[in-house]
């Protein structure tokens, strides 16, 4: 455990080694007051076996993890999502094989209760690169390199899916995120973003293509996020330290928050791949009122060069962690936004608590 002095307060850091590579991780907040849980998608490089583990964290001593339940995955996991309703803790995982799995867990002790899988050939061809669970946990959107956009309806004992769109591989998608019960967004190659509305079938209702790339620089959107209170703003993180927001009301001009772009003066916390972005809901309620609706809310990002940072529009980025290895993913506890979870390239997880 280490205490690090921070601009805003102190930071409690717990580093916990895992004997396996962590492909993804999420908080799972159940009804229990004493414990909370971390869902880890793991890959054992020695045996080439993938699994999902639910680890219990003691609230008083977070570095004490103990395995609550585990589930063997048929393939390596590409995306992990958790429904945010404590009464109905649901874990969704997509694989590189093209299958989608839903794990229903007990609301109190997070033990596994049942599992539903979708592994049909017609569902996705090849890896599923992004999924997102709708707020109520009843629908899941999935996208892949194959250019398919599918909507899965999660029943109690049955899964149904329908194809929203199929680009037949002409466009590949890498990330997905719900904006409202009817709308969602996707991201893809060439810093492209798409906005979809289920009520308007036949294709995306809006498209954006970032054209600030230079020659042989790679431009892939790795992660997108939408703040529940501002569904018209799409946040995207991707190659070369790039983090930008696209406001549907000002379609022509994206707001660049980080990245190396000729002609733009933005301080980038990182110059390598930004693997995940999320709106950072941890802030004083007073300051949230001060942010005008046109301004982008604070954003957290993690990167290949080991940076976990918070970016506020027009301010110096604030580094939370600087690791000697890549930070591959992170998650902000939605119930307790001061708490963070991140996975490091060197087979370990870090639990952070901002005070």
């Amino acid at each position: 455990m280490a205490m690090v002095a921070e601009g805003v307060g102190t930071l409690q850091i717990h580093r916990i080694s895992q004997p396996k590579y962590i492909d993804a991780l999420r908080w799972l907040s159940p009804l229990s007051a004493f414990e909370r849980f971390a869902v880890l998608a793991l890959h054992d490089s020695d045996s080439d076996v993938s699994s999902i583990e639910i680890q219990a964290l003691n609230r008083s001593n977070p570095s004490n993890l103990h395995l609550q339940s585990s589930w063997a995955s048929p393939a390596r996991i590409s995306t992990l999502r958790v429904s945010q309703i404590p009464q109905k803790p649901l874990v969704a995982a997509s694989t590189y094989m093209g299958s989608l799995h839903f794990l229903f867990t007990d609301p109190v002790d997070a033990s596994l209760e049942s599992e539903l899988s979708l592994a049909e050939k017609s569902f996705h061809a090849g890896p599923i690169s992004g999924i997102d669970l709708q707020g109520t946990g009843s629908e899941c959107v999935s996208v892949g390199e194959d250019g398919r956009v599918n909507l899965v309806t999660i029943g109690d004992s049955k899964l149904n899916y329908r194809r929203v769109f199929d680009s037949h591989g002409l466009v590949s998608y890498t990330a997905a995120k719900w904006a409202s019960p009817a709308e969602f967004a996707t991201g893809g190659l060439g810093f492209s973003l798409q906005y979809w509305d289920q009520r308007k079938p036949g294709g995306a209702v809006s498209q954006f293509k970032g054209n600030w790339g230079r020659g042989n620089m790679s431009e892939i959107v790795h992660s997108i996020d939408i703040h529940p209170s501002r569904k018209h703003i799409l946040l995207a993180g991707g190659s070369s330290g790039t983090v930008f927001a696209w406001d549907l009301r000002w379609q022509k001009q994206p707001v660049l928050l980080s990245g190396i772009v000729p002609g733009e003066t933005v301080v980038s916390p990182s110059e390598s791949e930004v693997w995940e972005v999320q709106f950072d809901c941890y802030m004083q309620s007073a300051t949230i009122g001060n942010i005008s609706s046109g301004q982008i809310l604070p954003v957290m990002m993690c990167s290949e060069d080991g940076i976990l940072a918070v970016i506020k529009q027009g301010e110096q980025p604030m580094e939370i962690l600087a690791e000697p290895c890549a930070i591959n993913s992170f998650d902000i506890d939605k119930q307790n936004p001061s708490d963070l979870l991140c996975s490091l390239e060197w087979e370990s997880i870090v639990i952070l608590s901002r005070q």
Binding site: G147, S167, G169, L170, S172, K209, W346
Partner: protein
Amino acid sequence: MPGRMSDPSDSLVPFSPDVRDPVVYSLHHDLKAPISRLSISWSKGNCLRVSFFGKKSSNSSAEGSGNSNDQIGGKVVEVKLSSEDGEIDEAQKRRIAYGSVSPFALLQSRKNSMSLLSKMSMGSSTYHVEWWEHVMEYSKDINLLLGSPKPLPSPVIEDPKTVLKAMEKPTCLKAAWELMEIFYADKQSQAWLPESLVDWLADYDNLLSETGTTVYSKLVDLQKELVTLQAVEDNPKYWEGISSALAVGWLEIVVKLLRLHGSYQLDQLGNRETENGLVEAVAVLISKMPRIRTELAVGRLGECYKTKPDFVKAWEKWRGQITKLECSAFWVQCDHRQTREGLKNVLQIMLGNTNSLNTVTSHWIELYISHFLYVRPFTMGLESMYSLAQKCMQLKPTSSTHRLMGLLLGILGENTEVVLAECSRSFGPWMVAHAVELLTAGSKQAEILLHEERYNLGGISIEELHRLVYAQILSSHALTWQIAPIYLTSCTKQGMGLLEILLYKQPIQHNHLLLKIAGIHHWKHGKKGSGIFWLQQAQDEVRLNRIAQQLFDFVGKSISDESFKQWEGLIELLGSEARTVGGLEFLHKYRDFKKSLQQVQDGHITDAARQAVESLILLMKNPSTPQRFWLPLLHDSRTGPGIEAEKRGSLVKLLNWSEHPLLNISQTNLLLNKLQELSMAKLHPDFIEADLPPHALNSVRLALATNLGRAFLEE
């Protein structure tokens, strides 16, 4: 690997010639036919991939046997080689590898800045931290990685009879590292080497129990019996345990054991007063034992003296007290025989009676330590320590040398090469690569030896060699290869070359070949978008041009309202700039043209028609628009391929625009010239005929001529 690997004397990696008997493992391959070829290659990690190729079955030949159909042609077997070192599993090894990167990198950067500083200021060291302090910090960081002794979960209420706390077993690797630290890095402990060894043995004596009895294993046995014993002092094992623990200096355990003596019990105190007095007197003497060291951890017994004269004075006084107690008249009054004899033996140990020490210790190193404590507390210098070790080994010979003892003897023998060889043989490449830092800090000679460039190593030093070996191991695993560059960049001679090879093997951003492969792979698997993206990254114009032709045909055939949505994203991806898209950039304009044309057909006439014409002119002017597309483009604007018969003639509509002609004279001339060029090209043998009705060229020409006429009238 650099250099050759021929005979052991000039081999790169020092290896012991005493190879153990080869172990034969049989692999099952289930191939019926005789194996014609065998191929062995490294898979990921420690996996060997063995491919068996059966003899080619000759189906066509007349002699063809009946079962040739169910015959498998070959088989690939993966063989997992587990490491020799069973105490640390692979995941733990990786954890150590990850953790040692930062301390190693920090030490290297300090080394560099230090050498830079000394060059600049030419020795005037005003701000100068001793180098060994940096090495010590490095050593402590590494030591921490190797695990800290964790007490096993114990019952909440501590049993008063617990003298030996149950601890998680430490690893030999940690013990070896600490040994190196004591002798090479920790310059402060140099004056108290014997006491450092006493502490070291206290932590790691249980590791030696694997091969035979030790003081630790004796105490473990005693601990088990203590719980059931009523009068401990009657049991000879109790006194044996006390004497053995005392011999190796575990004073706390000794005192704790003594206080379990029956005479301390309240009901016994009355009639065993003298006996109890003697036990307590011995316990007090033990806890006041003078030690020549700076400090003792909290809870440890003994009194510390930092300087030799102070220590000598206290030592003489202490021994005087022991002798006085030994001659005391109280012994006669002690009725309990075992207590009397046991305590007298304890006093003999404290007085350094070599016979007593010999009987109560088991392993030679325990005897060795007891000599430091009670016979020769002033032993200084490695030479005398080494000769004492040899004497102890003669007294207590062991059938096999424990790897820790091998290392210790190498250190005491002051032979850097032996120490390195022991590290490499017993603890592996990680240990050698990192311990070299301690060795070079240890002495000037070692530094010269390890930094000297050697002809037989291809001009590199021993230090660099071991780093290279370690980097090779790191780069063989998918999870650790990213660490290898840290070690390679610290190798001045061969590091950069190997780093280049390593990076060349990895999929990195600017490796065009790999990007191309990725692009072609995606394209072939129907992911056209990904394919084009990666080929753009690779700036592969040739392939992109070929794709453009395919796409154009495809777009031309299927363009309709529904399928247009699919193309939208891809064309967006292609971008409008003429940078690395090759021939594909015109597709972007074509999309705009199509869009406007569609709008004309939908009835949004005025602006859309103008835009359509502008796009058409742009397309036709653009040199990157391939010639074979000219006619389809022009014809397209005349009759869209996907449009039904009644909508035909939309270019005629476009060109015969009711208000005024859409194309001016120069624009019409441009298009007519293009048509002329096309007619000429038709005569060329390589010309590819577009899939259009035969009268296409003429009808377009007619429409253009009409437009030209109208344009003349207009102007």
